[in-house]
């Protein structure tokens, strides 16, 4: 192996060599710089590889031929090697990225760049505290120089502010160093003994060193200077500043915190939390892209500082966790800054230009996911392990704060992504420089690669090797194919997977697999109607399906959670594709991530540090009656209920489902919601009833279910938008299912399961039908339609069957659900929530009638006279569903019976008796075939009677009778559709008042307002910034001292 000292020697040598060149030989200077950086990168990477493979041992490098502490020594271990690789590679790519700017500024700039990378490397390697200072100053000066690479005139002021603050820091650092030396008799970091947190003598000296290093990390709120650099500097340099400088500074702090001992770690934790939360909140109010990235960098470094504060409990996992977050952040942030160089405008919405290149969109999405620790990236594994360790060590508050911060970060990052995807670009398409695009792609590939490595290195299964995910990612490569080919492959993949896994499933899994995956394949049939390549549809769709497939297969909490996040991410991108879906997709992902974090906390709480945690073990926790059990229950239930859109957590759903594309709405409604039910199901099966403060939590769930069912239905009847109506109806239906599940009896579960199947079928069908109508009429507003029955007869039939099934009118399958439902509540001892459910039934009937009436009946609009039936591929799956509904109505036993038997094995009772075609419960009985036969027979007889009397009736125009064939001037006045249930609104309109929306709105508004107010501390005055740094140090000093005494 080449000694790491050559990284420094190469950097310096190249720097000086460039100094030898003539001024006009800029090309040579650039070449030299790149060669040096490449050599440094090669050394770093080869060390990393060798250390990982176990070929090499960590190396202690002595200088001057004298042993430490008498001479400066360096150390090359795995952590150092990894960070050096990040630093040097970022430097290398940034060098190419900066090429035009470097050429413009001359050879000196190239030398400065090389020396900066050298200094960063030195900072990582050195084990001497004063040497640390020297490298710091080198970095400061080099940064001061490279800020000038920017074309932004404001960069000069930013550089000066940076220097001013650095001066303050160096004063503190030097004082701290010399008194530490005095106390320990050595400058070697490893000679600093662990010591209690104290504010005299050695302790105070150590405090000064530590706080100086922390201030170097640009902690909120003492970081205005750094933000200015991020905003004004050349993006190529900002990438380096964020990815390499911040990373290095963090490692420097880490070295000293490591020796200072566990007593000092709370300091890191506290400051990290403040920084993470504070800067993320402030970022909310930010509209400038690079400044936003700056805030995000500060926040992320704060997060790693929090991790650093947990090194006492992380133990061996420390490198894995901290490294996972730190390196992922470095890559993602470098990538984002490089991306920002491709965008000419500085407003967040200007990133819309990226849409010109799908690869860049993918990169943007990847970076956002990386920053947020979403699977399959490295941060995900780190986040998971961190949460588990925190909880196991009883540091739940830290976890809560971290998750809140992460949620806020998700807020602005996804808002930004949404803007980029949906807004109109204010600036013209610039055409992207190939070298810059290459840099971005390199970062993206590195991020994916790192995700793979982390997956392979950790104790968890490597997500990237999971077949469903790999299959979904395959579609990224297949994007150039035409849509029909991809669709074919997608359907084959889904069906193939079900066929493959089918033998291993228990009946419950089988039902969900059939609904989610096979059902998904049916819905995908509708996607054949789209022509062209349909870029950006299949990867997210398949990502969602992959998540669902993995969810069903999940054995451990890790697999479950990973699958959960994958399907959330996939569905987010899918929803975002809708026309006006930007705000709705955002609230979807935020609620989903909030829910996911609750799940994470719940699993972490349950696992108590032991991994892997099999889902089955939830039962053990419940049985043991541990005090945490109800909390686990609450957290998991809340998480799952965000997905089922239980009332209070539902506000994302209507918009998200309504604005989605025609074939996406059924996916996210009919299928995605079931994921939440699946989770709840497992939770209730494993944990059963839990009591918290004397309240049976399943009773709470029953109430929530009933309220969701009721309010969802009430809101649905007031909608004018057909898809929104269906969306609210989904809330209601999921409320029913939740209600059934939470009843905790055999029939309740069966009821929920019937809802899983039925809701999937009729909601998919209805969404497809309404979507088909929208394809033709180009509106979703029902009062703009009317009289479409003759023009779109097949769609009408599917809506008709759908609403009969859904409202529970015999003989279709919905009735079976109602019957099971009544029997289930008879077996339960809860009374009041039933009332709500009873009210809901008829109300559900109201909105469904409205749907069919205002679209298909009544007067046809003039502009719709020439409409054709919906596209064949949209109608086809509807017809399949119609056939299924009828079959399921008559033969519910074909699937239910197996599941019923399965549920019986869990609940231990046999609630239903299946004899022949009669299904008997403790209370009543139900003979589907007889019902269908009787009704059919009567219907046919009556119809025959009417036909006999009135067989030659001829169809007349709609205006013929009442209007005496005089067409009224405006046909729309004759279509009674708008505000259809006006009496209800008069009587029950108060239920429509958007309490929940107002609540969440007020929450986010107040966050935004406080962010907008608080960020005014960044006055832009360099002196004020320096003052803030001093104030920060003094405040920490006083608070920490107060904490110690």
């Amino acid at each position: 192996m080449v000694s790491a000292i050559y990284i420094i020697a190469t950097g310096l040598g190249a720097g000086f060599l460039i100094g030898l060149l003539k001024d006009d030989r800029k090309g040579d200077a650039f070449f030299l710089a790149v060669a040096a950086l490449a050599a440094m990168a090669w050394i770093s990477v080869s060390w990393t590889l060798a250390l990982t493979a176990g070929v090499a041992e960590p190396q202690q490098i002595i200088t001057a031929g004298v042993q430490p502490p008498f001479a400066i020594n360096l150390r090359m271990g795995l952590a150092e090697a990894g960070l050096l690789s990040v630093i040097t590679l970022t430097g290398l790519v940034s060098a190419f990225y900066l090429r035009p700017a470097l050429m413009q500024l001359g050879r000196r700039a190239a030398a400065v760049l090389v020396i900066l990378v050298m200094a960063l490397s030195g900072l990582v390697l050195t084990r001497d505290v004063f040497n640390l200072f020297v490298f710091f100053e080198l970095i400061v000066i080099a940064t001061g120089g490279l800020v000038l690479l920017s074309n932004d005139k404001r960069a000069v002021a930013a550089g000066f502010k940076y220097l001013v603050v650095s001066q303050v820091i160096s004063v503190l650092l030097l004082i701290g160093i010399i008194f530490t030396y005095h106390a320990q008799g050595s400058l070697n970091i490893d000679d600093i003994p662990a010591q209690p947190m104290a504010f005299t003598g050695a302790g105070l000296a150590l405090f000064l060193v530590l706080i100086a290093l922390v201030v170097e990390l640009k902690p909120f709120p003492a970081n205005g200077w750094a933000l200015d650099i991020y905003e004004a500097a050349h993006p190529g340099f900002s990438a380096l500043f964020s990815a390499a400088s911040a990373t290095t500074a963090l490692y420097a702090a880490d070295k000293l915190f490591a020796v200072a001992g566990p007593d000092w770690l709370p300091l890191a934790t506290g400051l990290g939390l403040i920084s993470f939360l504070g800067s993320n909140i402030l970022a909310l109010a930010q509209r400038s892209d690079r400044r936003l990235l700056g805030y995000s960098s500060v926040g992320q470094i704060g997060l790693v500082l929090v991790v650093l504060g947990q090194r006492d409990i992380l133990g061996d996992a420390y490198l894995y966790v901290a490294g996972g977050i730190l390196i992922t952040h470095a890559i993602a942030k470098a990538g984002l800054f490089w991306l920002s160089g491709l965008v000419t405008g500085r407003d967040l919405a200007d990133w819309a230009v990226l849409r010109a290149n799908p690869v860049l969109v993918l990169a943007f999405a990847s970076f956002v996911a990386m920053l947020l620790g979403l699977p399959p990236f490295a941060g995900f594994y780190a986040k998971w392990d961190l949460a588990h360790t925190l909880v196991a060590a009883d540091r739940l508050p830290v976890l809560v704060l971290v998750l809140i911060g992460a949620l806020i970060e998700a807020g602005y990052l996804f808002r930004w992504f949404g803007m980029a995807m949906k807004r109109k670009s204010a600036v013209a398409f610039p055409g992207f420089a190939l070298d810059k695009v290459t840099a971005v792609i390199i970062a993206m590939v590195a991020g994916w690669g790192l995700g793979y490595i982390w997956g392979a290195a950790g104790a968890h299964p490597n997500l990237m090797l999971a077949t469903p995910l790999a299959f979904a990612l395959l579609f990224l490569v297949l994007e150039p194919l035409p849509a029909w080919a991809k669709n074919l492959l997608a359907i084959a993949g889904l069906l193939g997977w079900v066929a493959l896994r089918y033998p291993d499933y228990d009946p419950l899994q089988l039902v969900f697999a059939l609904v989610m995956l096979a059902g998904g394949a049916v819905i995908l049939l509708a996607s054949f109607h789209v022509r062209g390549r349909r870029l950006g549809f299949y990867p997210p769709a398949m990502l969602m399906y992959a998540g669902l497939a993995m969810l069903i297969d999940a054995q451990t909490s890790f697999q479950f959670f990973a699958a959960w996040e994958i399907l959330t991410l996939g569905s987010y991108f899918l929803i975002l594709r809708g026309q006006d879906s930007e705000p709705h997709a955002l609230s979807y992902i935020l609620f989903s991530l909030g829910g996911a974090f609750a799940i994470l906390a719940g699993f972490a709480l349950a696992a108590m540090g032991i991994q892997p945690f099999a889902l089955v073990n939830l039962a053990a926790i419940a049985e043991a009656g541990l005090a945490i059990a109800p909390w686990v229950f609450v957290l998991l239930a809340v998480g799952f209920m965000t997905k089922t859109a239980a009332i209070g957590l539902h506000i994302w759903l209507p918009g998200a489902h309504a604005e989605a594309e025609t074939d996406v709405s059924p996916m996210v409604s009919g299928i995605l919601l079931k994921a939440g039910l699946f989770g709840l199901w497992l939770l209730l099966i494993y944990m059963g009833r839990q009591t918290l403060w004397g309240v049976d939590l399943t009773h709470v769930l029953v109430w929530i279910g009933a309220l969701s069912a009721f309010l969802g239905a009430v809101l649905a009847i007031f909608q004018e938008d057909a898809k929104r109506l269906l969306a609210y109806s989904s809330i209601s239906q999921m409320g029913y299912a939740l209600f059934g599940l939470a009843l905790m009896n055999h029939l309740g579960w069966l009821l929920a399961l019937m809802f899983v199947i039925n809701h999937f079928v009729y909601k998919s069908m209805l969404f497809l039908a309404v979507g088909g109508v929208k394809e033709r009429t180009h509106t979703k507003l029902m009062y703009k339609m009317g009289g479409l029955i003759t023009l779109m007869p097949f769609t009408f039939i599917s809506v008709l069957v759908g609403i009969i099934a859904m409202s529970g009118v015999p003989p279709l399958s919905g009735f079976g659900g109602r019957w099971v439902f009544y029997n289930a509540i008879m077996a339960s001892d809860l009374r009041l929530p039933m009332v709500l459910i009873f009210i809901t039934g008829p109300i559900g009937f109201l909105y469904l009638f409205r749907l069919i009436h205002t679209i298909f009946l009544g007067q046809l609009k003039d502009e719709h006279r020439k409409l054709r039936e919906a596209p064949f591929w949209i109608v086809l799956p509807q017809m399949l569903f119609v056939a299924f509904l009828i079959a399921f109505a008559v033969l519910p036993g074909m699937m239910l019976r197996r599941v019923d038997a399965y549920i019986a094995t869990i609940t231990g009772d046999q609630a239903l008796t299946w004899s022949g075609r009669v299904i008997t419960s403790e209370f009543g009985y139900w003979n589907p075939i007889a019902i269908a036969a009787v009704i059919g027979a009567i219907f046919v007889l009556v119809l025959a009677l009417l036909l006999a009397i009135n067989h030659n009736a001829t169809r007349v125009k709609q205006f013929n009778i009442v209007f005496s064939a005089e067409r009224p001037y405006k046909p729309q006045t004759t279509h009674f559709a708008w505000n259809f249930f006006a009496p209800y609104r008069k009587a029950l309109g108060f239920l429509e008042s958007p309490v929940v929306t107002t609540f969440w709105g007020a929450l986010t508004d107040s966050l935004h307002a406080s962010a907008d107010f608080a960020r005014r501390i960044y006055t832009g005055n360099g002196q004020t910034y320096a003052l803030q740094v001093v104030a920060f140090v003094v405040a920490v000093y006083l608070i920490a001292m107060g904490g110690v005494s």
Binding site: V156, I178, R1015
Partner: protein, 118 residues
Amino acid sequence: MYLVAMAAGFLLILMGLYGALTHRNILRMIVGFTLADSGVHLVLVAVGYLPGRTAPILDSAVPLDEAAQRIIDPVPQALVLTAIVIGLGITALMLAYAYRLFRTRKSLDIAEFTELKW
């Protein structure tokens, strides 16, 4: 003696910082920082001082075998030497920046360079 130097050094640091944090003129801020730097250097050297010993030079006045008993701690001096040079580097850089800033606005008031904020 070392206490005097140390006290003076600390005072100088505080005074320098006061100047740097209150003067709005950029050049005066830099002057403040050079004062603070001098103070830091003083404190550093004072820490290495052992009463009654001589400079760490092993000439005829200091026999080699008694060196450990005769000379003061040389390490802080070496550090200060480095610190002084680095301080000069930063000061020079800040001065260059000050000039550059002056060229953009014809002003040296730090409060005027606030285009970047929030």
